[in-house]
Subunit: 307 residues, 4 copies
Amino acid sequence: MQSNKELQLLVEKAKRFSKDGKVADYIPALGKEDGNDLAITIYKTDNSYFHAGNFEKKFTLQSISKVLSLALVLMDRGEDYVFQKVGMEPTGDPFNSIAKLETLKPSKPLNPMINAGALAVTNMIKGKDLTEKWERLIQFVRALANDQQITYNEEVARSEFETAHLNRALCFFMKQNNIIEGDVESLIDLYTKQCAIEMNCYDLARIGAVFALNGFDPDSGERLIPEHIVRICKTFMVTCGMYNASGEFAIKVGVPAKSGVSGGIFAVVPNRYGIGIFGPALDEKGNSIAGLKLLEMLANEFEFSIF
Amino acid sequence: MQSNKELQLLVEKAKRFSKDGKVADYIPALGKEDGNDLAITIYKTDNSYFHAGNFEKKFTLQSISKVLSLALVLMDRGEDYVFQKVGMEPTGDPFNSIAKLETLKPSKPLNPMINAGALAVTNMIKGKDLTEKWERLIQFVRALANDQQITYNEEVARSEFETAHLNRALCFFMKQNNIIEGDVESLIDLYTKQCAIEMNCYDLARIGAVFALNGFDPDSGERLIPEHIVRICKTFMVTCGMYNASGEFAIKVGVPAKSGVSGGIFAVVPNRYGIGIFGPALDEKGNSIAGLKLLEMLANEFEFSIF
Amino acid sequence: MQSNKELQLLVEKAKRFSKDGKVADYIPALGKEDGNDLAITIYKTDNSYFHAGNFEKKFTLQSISKVLSLALVLMDRGEDYVFQKVGMEPTGDPFNSIAKLETLKPSKPLNPMINAGALAVTNMIKGKDLTEKWERLIQFVRALANDQQITYNEEVARSEFETAHLNRALCFFMKQNNIIEGDVESLIDLYTKQCAIEMNCYDLARIGAVFALNGFDPDSGERLIPEHIVRICKTFMVTCGMYNASGEFAIKVGVPAKSGVSGGIFAVVPNRYGIGIFGPALDEKGNSIAGLKLLEMLANEFEFSIF
Amino acid sequence: MQSNKELQLLVEKAKRFSKDGKVADYIPALGKEDGNDLAITIYKTDNSYFHAGNFEKKFTLQSISKVLSLALVLMDRGEDYVFQKVGMEPTGDPFNSIAKLETLKPSKPLNPMINAGALAVTNMIKGKDLTEKWERLIQFVRALANDQQITYNEEVARSEFETAHLNRALCFFMKQNNIIEGDVESLIDLYTKQCAIEMNCYDLARIGAVFALNGFDPDSGERLIPEHIVRICKTFMVTCGMYNASGEFAIKVGVPAKSGVSGGIFAVVPNRYGIGIFGPALDEKGNSIAGLKLLEMLANEFEFSIF
């Protein structure tokens, strides 16, 4: 890629697919977004970057945050501990499904990218209380983005807290089966804050660059995440990152990526790029419809696939 | 049947099966029971009765209470309202299963005898607050048993409240799908009290007599429950009363009955008897193992089956 | 009931509901029926009868035949043998579902009224080969109807044989799990013939009279089916006879009944009536929509319910 | 890696895990294998290779063959056609599960690595009859292995044909839903031959080298498979290749691989190696237990992971 203009052309092409998607509206704050928006930052590991669209517009991470909490918890607790509570297998079920918790023996969320697994992960963040856990998480995110201003969107967090009954059902089911412990309301509080962490495409791409560099800060060269933990995260992003369209995404794009219902996509082209995308019109599986198209175009043109 | 002695002989025979069962121990208060116990009262609609075993020993109703709350709620709200929230179909799934709430569209508990359905029913008891709802329920039960002393076992209620995470999961799932409304913790509080209502075989058999008389009080002749509501309750007891052994019970015994994990069985021989049984050793499906045998013997000898 | 005219009035009222139903059309031969048809015979145990509509029109039994093959197989093999291969429990799943065969351990059809269970039952009909098995079944049906002319509709049987892939899937799954043995194609051949047995409302009502008399022939007084086997059949008709609307039917009508996708309903009012109904417009669960309404009206007016 | 001796040491270490596994014995021919065997060939893309253990011992491909038939069918029919019949998503269900075919709408096997999907793929091999289809498949396999002697094990194929009732159930279910067409017995015949294709570690590793070279023959340099089809196959191997341990394998080893119940593993280290392993003692998920350990050791030592 040579220029922002080149990227802008692809964005224009991808944008046309937005009309077939639908902005998430289960809470009012999300429903206000313009379905026609599409923005991207591509952050190169040499600290240069390209962008197109309104790349400074903030959006909430939603499910994208699952990758970041997983990285923190793996650092906090180690693989052995974490994978006693949550599995490593992709699933053909929707991200918010409860059925497998009932049918699988022992009961354990299949992976950390579905809601049940992500709740179990957030439950393992170290800290003496909710405040400390939150503080540790947000500091970790700020360090990855190299931006101390990052925080969460209170309106979104509050709305989601009030309506997160399905997540409460998942939590109580897991509490029954000793997958999670402690107070469910506190966990939901922490989890909805986590999902409401807000940033723009640039920030997200910058975090992607850390992953592209296997854990190193692209500016300081400091190690922020151990390499084997980055590898685990990237692997989950490939096998389960794009809801139950992950398999198709692996074939069509072929890079570690994680999407959120806000319309964000976090993608990593190993050793090359961190990518942050925002396109709030979603396809029926919950992925940014224009964002997916844009990644497909980029993957084809610049040979992103790791396969 | 001619005498208590005749009944006592059957009890002795049935009791031998207790050794193949197991007392419920998910809360300590239940686990303390003697698995070898077996008691029964048969209350005839002419107000005479037979009994055998320690028929005055109190036990908690547990799932048996589902029939009584259903009767109250049908009186409170009418059939149309109630069956918008809960279905009428038996299920091959365990009583505490959540899977069908996810797979069925619209999401609705299949019937009022499984936990999800019973929680939805208790949620419909009329009353301005928890206290009034509870008061109305316990007064209804006292009237049916003609015993103003009946109340709930606080230790059992507290224990179940603390451990009822699966029921909380069911509630939140139903709240998400607009099957139940209001505060989940209050509902769990009311429901665990309901399950912890305590009485003996005599009381339970006396309530059975009301059902055997299609809703009339056997002493006063007063109508306590409308006939069509008694019929609905008895129908559910046949199709779904004995957990996922209801079909087998219908074939082998063939009368409306409802069991609880405390080891109680509430049975109705239409126009003839109300029956209360207590035998805490359970089979693998959660029914009193000796109680079932006893009912089978009685059904064969005295031709109970309605089929 | 006093006269055919009285019955005819109810039929006219019930018929109006036909317009909300749909004639089964998965094979052409069924799709040719007139959705507006509604016919009934009520056969009293004193050998008198009422009828209304075109009660001499023939239709195929389809799932109604499951009750008759079950009775024969229970006579052939005894309860213990039969219930090793097929369960006694109602299910919330559709009649043709395969999922529970996979999830339940041991794998065994939940009851003889769903397709898997009925196939397992037909597989147990005694006979040295297909011809002898068929001969024994059709002779049994002829004896019950007291009509030696009864046979099967070849066009329907052939069509169903050619398209019965789901039933083949069920059979092979059960063969894998040792529920059925022998050649699957022969079983499908026998089963599709069984489903294609053809008779009219009068014949069906006459068979119902045998059930209403607990197994006795209403003309000769001869015992055709042992009483305990009739009881088992009637019990299954109550708990699982009307597909996954059985629970609702038990509440609204309350008698043993079995429906078929041809639009037939076979109902038994114990000690009183055998009933045959034909109304090919089906509701979404596969039951005759006007036939159901007609039974509801009759049940209310003449107090059919056994509950 | 420098020498066969180095590899032999790792094999000795991995072999110790064989004792925790179990040789497949659902057909006698498989059960005869020695659970203690472990053999490997690593074929470098420069046509040199290392081996250890009895690498010339033949074994049947079983599920490994699913990758090869997929490659052929993608060449025969194109992606669009193939992915109308079979999905791209990993599943948390076992490889032989039928449940998702029932619950997903439209009914379609989730991916080509589970049995349902592989049967649908084999059903798409071009050819005017069974013989021609088989001939085209085996010639393709021979070309990939550069070995004209490769054929199938008749005893294994016959045994599997006789017992493949679960696969027949899957086929008839898919025939009902228009996923497959034509005669099921012919398809089962072709599929069991495909699974019974027999080769040794060297052959398998050589095929792996073709995949490692993105479709080029390592000897002749001729293109045997288009690059984008190799990429699709490798992607499925990562997301679904190791049964429902694929997610864990992706994390612990991180290369495209496919296992079979014979104990074979086919692995590809892109641009570097094709690997063939034979270790018939299986873990509970059906993967070679020592083979997995061996790949883990190699992956750690020689940095195989693509993540």
